[in-house]
Subunit: 403 residues, 2 copies
Amino acid sequence: MTVPGFGASEVTVPGFRASGVCCGIKERDPDLGLIVSAVPATAAGVFTRSSVPGAPVVLTKQRLRSGRKRGVIVNSGISNVAMGARGLRTAEAMTAMAARELGCSPEEVLVASTGVIGEPIPLARIRAGLPLAREALSPGGLGDTARAIMTTDTFPKLASRRVRVGGRLVTIAGIAKGSGMIEPRMATMLAFLLTDAPVAAPFLRRLLRTTADETFNRVSIDGETSTSDTVLLLANGVAGGAPLRDPRSPGARALAEALLAVCTDLSRDLARDGEGATKLVTVRVEGARTRSEAERAVRRIGNSMLVKTALFGGDPNWGRILQTVGAGEVRINLERAEVRLGGVAVYRRGGSAGPRARARAGKKLTEPEIEIRVDLATGRGRASLWTCDLSYDYVRINAEYTT
Amino acid sequence: MTVPGFGASEVTVPGFRASGVCCGIKERDPDLGLIVSAVPATAAGVFTRSSVPGAPVVLTKQRLRSGRKRGVIVNSGISNVAMGARGLRTAEAMTAMAARELGCSPEEVLVASTGVIGEPIPLARIRAGLPLAREALSPGGLGDTARAIMTTDTFPKLASRRVRVGGRLVTIAGIAKGSGMIEPRMATMLAFLLTDAPVAAPFLRRLLRTTADETFNRVSIDGETSTSDTVLLLANGVAGGAPLRDPRSPGARALAEALLAVCTDLSRDLARDGEGATKLVTVRVEGARTRSEAERAVRRIGNSMLVKTALFGGDPNWGRILQTVGAGEVRINLERAEVRLGGVAVYRRGGSAGPRARARAGKKLTEPEIEIRVDLATGRGRASLWTCDLSYDYVRINAEYTT
């Protein structure tokens, strides 16, 4: 077994090959990706909870009900959403075409699409592009796949970790795309996670759900759960050893920790690269009456246009933060609550911490990474969220182009 | 009884006088308003449901529990929110000062404030300004009060109707301010409604709540319920006649209709003048499984940054409309659903209505008033909302200035 070198552009997972090519759905950028495992892999997925999921989501969920998987076909440019029965036929055709190229059955292929809603995917272009994608498959090709799934993303998102499982070094790597229409809930945008660790399917499903809840489901760019949210985790066991089954085993714990690290990296990159974003913002709420009130509070703050524009402007406006929490009818003990921006307390003991604190916080808000920390002083509930600011560019991107 | 002439700038209600002056809370614009009834009036209010209501909200709610009222003091520039015990003392002091000027008891005076959160109101300026405000009181002064309560509003909002109640001509007039931090829920932003009709207090309360639910609570600029939302309705009975008590009486119905018309005018103006707005948008959802799903759908659409930026850009993007409804986990029958923009069906029978419909809808979206109508085809629930688009100016206003 070789454990290849790591780098932002060359991430490899033993037994997996990947590629990303141009097939002409977009005008010039890569738009077709393939991921293939040399041997059948256990697979798990989490998906959008939108009531109008895309056809690829419907088909991939169905395919994940049984059997091991060999590959994933993914395109960007058109999302294959709201296309009726035709959408499902298109998704099925994509997996059948990929299966022919890979020499496996369509049931072993998963599919995802991202892009414009309500347009038909040009199947002829997919058919023409697939041989190129197959030829381009390489162990280090995951970076190309990451580029092929981008829409308004400004950089490809890859992350990886190596970790020891049962005496063997295993790799876990992932790619993701995000940018707009992002508030994954119990699901997420597109992400593909690969490992050569051997993992039993029930544990794999549980592991993915738990990790997604702590990472992708903690991101919001604009409060909009997409119709195409899909995270897939494939484990091909090429590293060898007995399949991981018991979540409490040391190997399972090590893998879970590595997966959490990879997904955290990807999630932070999603928020950092939100449409028009100039800042990565981490919102932490603590001291809430309940966990669910903390959850509501971080989402109010992270999705508030007033807070997000203030962050863009570098305005340490704690009033808007408390206001939006209050608007969510979340209980606050104003006499004891505290608001910290970039570590500087700007609201405490029932009032403003004064103009000097405000000035220091304003300086912190010019940094590329910002933390908002709010203590509601009514209990022990806590939650966090990664988000970004709301800039002129968000309006430009979404007013001037159809997505 | 004289029934004075009507005009946008000169609205009068018999027995009421009003004024708006500069007292120096803001740098130069009017910032202090007074409304006075010659005789004690029955009064009702609806307020923010924020868990951090401003001190004036707390005090005015308390004052409304009993007795008739003589007047209202209101300031803009500072909202007297999140100021602890000092905030309540300030609100009480404001009513006491106004009561001295008006020769009544503080319990007969209501108070409202709007503006920056977390700053102290300079009471000395209010004290100095009040004699000017009293001297300026005039029957036609309501337009000045409307100007004195503006924050980022670009025009004062007044509306009025005359209607026959029990053989007598009565007037109902109102003023409002809005602009940002606007999504009144079971409450609203600042609005003051006056009538010379005689109305018993229990019916007045019921009337205001019902009307607010159909008007102010159907507006959202940015999904942010303010800490200061206050609507007051004062009825001084100067028109004469027996107090209206029975909602089914012809007089009560006539008054209710006139109040609905006044509040509808004001609500539409609030949406039209949302921060940075270039368009008044009416969102109508019908065919929802339940009334509450219709409600959730109109609020998803009206508060969606993706939909609002598309409207700003004139992009007939039905995909974003269906997507945000789906993100709210609202049931849609995609095969039978329909989306109309400015009356043009752009999505129907399971798919796009084609590029020509799209082009026609795009043209409609350049108009200053737009209707979005969505039929979810899953039941009979319906709801509507007034909102506006999201422009560069919203970002500019909220990024470059502290509010």
